[in-house]
Amino acid sequence: MAELDDIIHQPLRLRIMAALNALPSGTGLDFPRLKKLTGATDGNLGAHIETLSKAGYVAVEKAFVGKKPQTTVTATAVGRGAFARHVAMLQEIIAARPSE
């Protein structure tokens, strides 16, 4: 049996990937919205996005909208694939060992 993806398995990173994966390919979420959707704090969210980014699962784009800096996070094709495999693994675990 394949292993769960350790990078995605962490609860907050799982929520980040689930949120980004729910969007059409190439579409991202800005930092405040991602924070609201996942219920994370600024520091916590930043750290976990960094981990996902280093793994190549998300792309982080920083730009200025007017005078305000805006950070947009988008799931990469590699990240979407990893997330799909992770979800398939979770379903496999449930199918293999149904809870009583």
Binding site: L14, R15, G26
Partner: protein, 182 residues
């Protein structure tokens, strides 16, 4: 390795987040449309109050501008997010909804005041029913504006149009702004 209980919880978490993302995208577009229609309805009620003889033309113009504006807002959202939300099917649904309302008005022989109340409540009914599927904010806005519209119908007297400008137009604008924060 995790057990099936933990796997189920993780999948439930994923489903919950995906549902919230979908709701957030719907709220984002709906709030823009609400602010647009709120501004138009506010302006139309004020104009109809000032120029009652031209009320019919004013409302026709507002509806045309509103439909065109809705397409523009949708195109703007599409260019920013890549998501198309106001397509041909949406337009058909809007036209069918509008046609049904028009037939009802013809058959019921409403007066000007009843017409205003009918269209406001009719659209809010749509919001309220849609809210049962897509989000609680729609239900609050729909029921709230309907209730205030009825209060105005019975109690606002000669100030009915200004009341409707504030309650219906202003209500949609405030509802749209609130929706962006929910």
């Amino acid at each position: 390795m995790i057990d099936s209980q933990q796997a189920s919880e993780a999948l439930a978490d994923i489903d919950d987040i995906a549902r919230r993302v979908r709701q957030s995208r719907i709220y984002n577009l709906a709030s823009l449309l609400m602010i647009l229609w709120g501004a138009l309805v506010f302006a139309a009620n004020v104009a109809a109050f000032a120029l009652p003889r031209y009320a019919g033309y004013i409302w026709i113009a507002v509806n045309v501008v509103g439909i065109v504006g809705s397409f523009v807002v949708s195109a703007f959202t599409h260019s920013r997010t890549g998501v198309r939300t106001f397509d041909l099917r949406t337009l058909m649904a809007f036209l069918l909804f509008f046609a049904f309302g028009l037939v009802t008005c013809v058959l019921a022989h409403f007066g000007p005041r009843e017409l205003s109340v009918f269209w406001a409540i009719y659209f809010m009914l749509f919001y309220t029913i849609a809210g049962l599927w897509v989000g609680f904010a729609f239900v609050v806005i729909g029921v709230g504006i309907s209730a205030l519209t009825l209060i105005g119908y019975f109690l606002a007297g000669n100030w009915f149009e200004p009341w409707m400008a504030v309650v219906n137009g202003g209500g949609l604008i405030l509802g749209g702004l609130w929706m962006r924060r929910v």
